[in-house]
Symmetry: C2
Subunit: 306 residues, 2 copies
């Protein structure tokens, strides 16, 4: 089944202890699409300035990613410039230029309105609502957000949550949204506000899937070399939703597999600058990495102390 | 098979957002024993002052924990006083009084010398070596350490590692010991210095077992109420080694089960002050909590993208 993402299409200039890159493809919709398109078709809604290297976007799995919902406007593209600490554990934003993204008003091509799976990337909650108002009864709506919106537009974000099945947030954002530092209580708080499940992203520590009365944990893939953490969360979302859209399986078991696909995509994203970590991933190498999660977490507990 | 622990036997005065306790049973050997004795017999080597409430120690599963290696000396017992932040994520040491622990020279009762499983709690590496020199070819030696020894006695600690099978450290200690912020590379660094495996404790994020060429991950049990994190790491060690000593099973599968037992014991430790979280744990409730780890991490990956 098809999958729609609405989010930023940006140009990132990043400095890590291992190198620098200028004006590389970035933004939530780009990372999401690079990941999800390994699992099935993706439709993108966004905006770019007249300076955006659109031809580079179109080289990301042509025919699998549909960029026709990305509007090109006169003006500059959204640019972000950041620098990571020596151990990649924190980053500093050096510059943010919204450009045409400041006036982004998502407008869905009519052919996108019936897309069954939707990911609302981290944009203004009012825009997230406007996207939902343009859609016809999607099968699953997921959304992300960030501290900026939690602080400035919490009532609107709570309106979004009422119409969302799956909230994906990192742990600090979840703590801020709920006002509770315990992630499990915070997850339960969210479940009382609309979503049927919460995916808590915890960076190098992995991610949690919190559903009513149960929790599933997936670790981050153990990497000895992490090159650039930018986009790991959006790539996780792309793997998670890409798998759900591919299979349509929203059972507990299907959601667990989707979590593993999310963790796998996160591990590709951080291996290189921009979306280069997805280059050369084949169905066989993807299957191999998925299988390695079995080794990483499998334990037979029958009769442990019996 | 029997299990020996050498470590601190202390009195802790702790303040958390939920309450305070004064002169409660604490110290690495006490938490370790409270946990490990749920799985089998434990022998303790340590020192207390003449003011220590020894009768309270002896009420911890009488007949299962052997306290005859705990020497009573004239003087004050080791006391630690600390305060946790509102979200329990950090703590401040308000006072440390070593008392008789400052002159601790572990002396093993002759009947302890042939104990097959040994845990060297976080004490001076020179004392850890002296314990090993008093032992007869143990089947498995595990040890812990801390930043203080890494900074002040690294050469001696590296001598200890040459004689240790399993190193248990928290992630910040592992980073400091190896000089590498990537825990997977840091783990491999340790494997080149003696130990056959490293257990990396990561608090609320769980723990990693790093062996040559493979890694296993166990999450922390999802708790909506964490009362006092003190002793979680030593309780993890008690569960891990208690399980290995109980079964003698050092296979990869046995080590994974031991990791789950460690995580279970950590979850009991943090539920109440001191070792009260272990009160009332029965074989049935223990088995129940172990089984809940299956639900928390199990995923069937066969044919995920096939």
């Amino acid at each position: 089944m098809s999958l729609l993402v609405v989010g930023s299409v940006a140009l990132d200039s990043i400095s890590t202890p291992f190198g620098e890159v200028t004006d590389a493809l970035g933004g939530s919709a780009v990372y999401f699409s690079a990941a999800a398109s390994l699992l099935g078709p993706v439709r993108v809604v966004g905006v770019v300035g007249s300076d955006y290297p659109v031809a580079q976007l179109q080289r990301i799995r042509p025919g699998v990613v549909d960029w026709s919902g990305v509007e090109s406007q006169k003006g500059e593209s959204f640019r972000w410039r950041g620098k990571y600490s020596f151990d990649l554990s924190s980053r500093e934003t050096l510059d943010t230029r919204l450009g045409v993204f400041a006036n982004f008003r998502p407008s869905l091509p009519p052919s996108f309105a019936a897309t069954p799976f939707v990911f609302l990337g981290n944009i203004d909650p009012e825009l997230q609502l406007s996207v939902l108002n343009q859609m016809q009864r999607p099968k699953l709506v997921a959304c992300d957000s960030m501290n900026y919106w939690i602080e400035s537009k919490k009532p609107q974000l709570l309106e979004v949550l009422k119409r969302v099945d799956t909230l994906l947030l990192n742990d600090s954002e979840l703590r801020e949204l709920s006002g509770d530092w315990n992630v499990h209580r915070a997850g339960r708080w969210v479940l009382g506000r609309g979503p049927r499940r919460v995916v808590v992203k915890r960076g190098e520590y992995g991610a949690l899937l919190i559903e009513p009365g149960k929790t599933f944990f997936v670790p981050a893939f153990p990497l000895e070399e992490v090159f650039d953490p930018t986009g790991a969360g959006d790539s996780f979302a792309g793997g998670f939703l890409g798998y759900l859209a591919r299979t349509g399986d929203l059972s507990s078991e299907g959601l667990r597999r989707a979590m593993v696909c999310g963790a796998v995509m996160g591990s590709y994203a951080v291996a290189k600058f921009s979306i280069s970590g997805f280059d050369g991933v084949t169905p066989a190498s993807l299957q191999q990495r998925i299988a390695e999660f079995h080794e990483l977490t499998h334990v037979d507990l029958a009769g442990t102390i019996g």
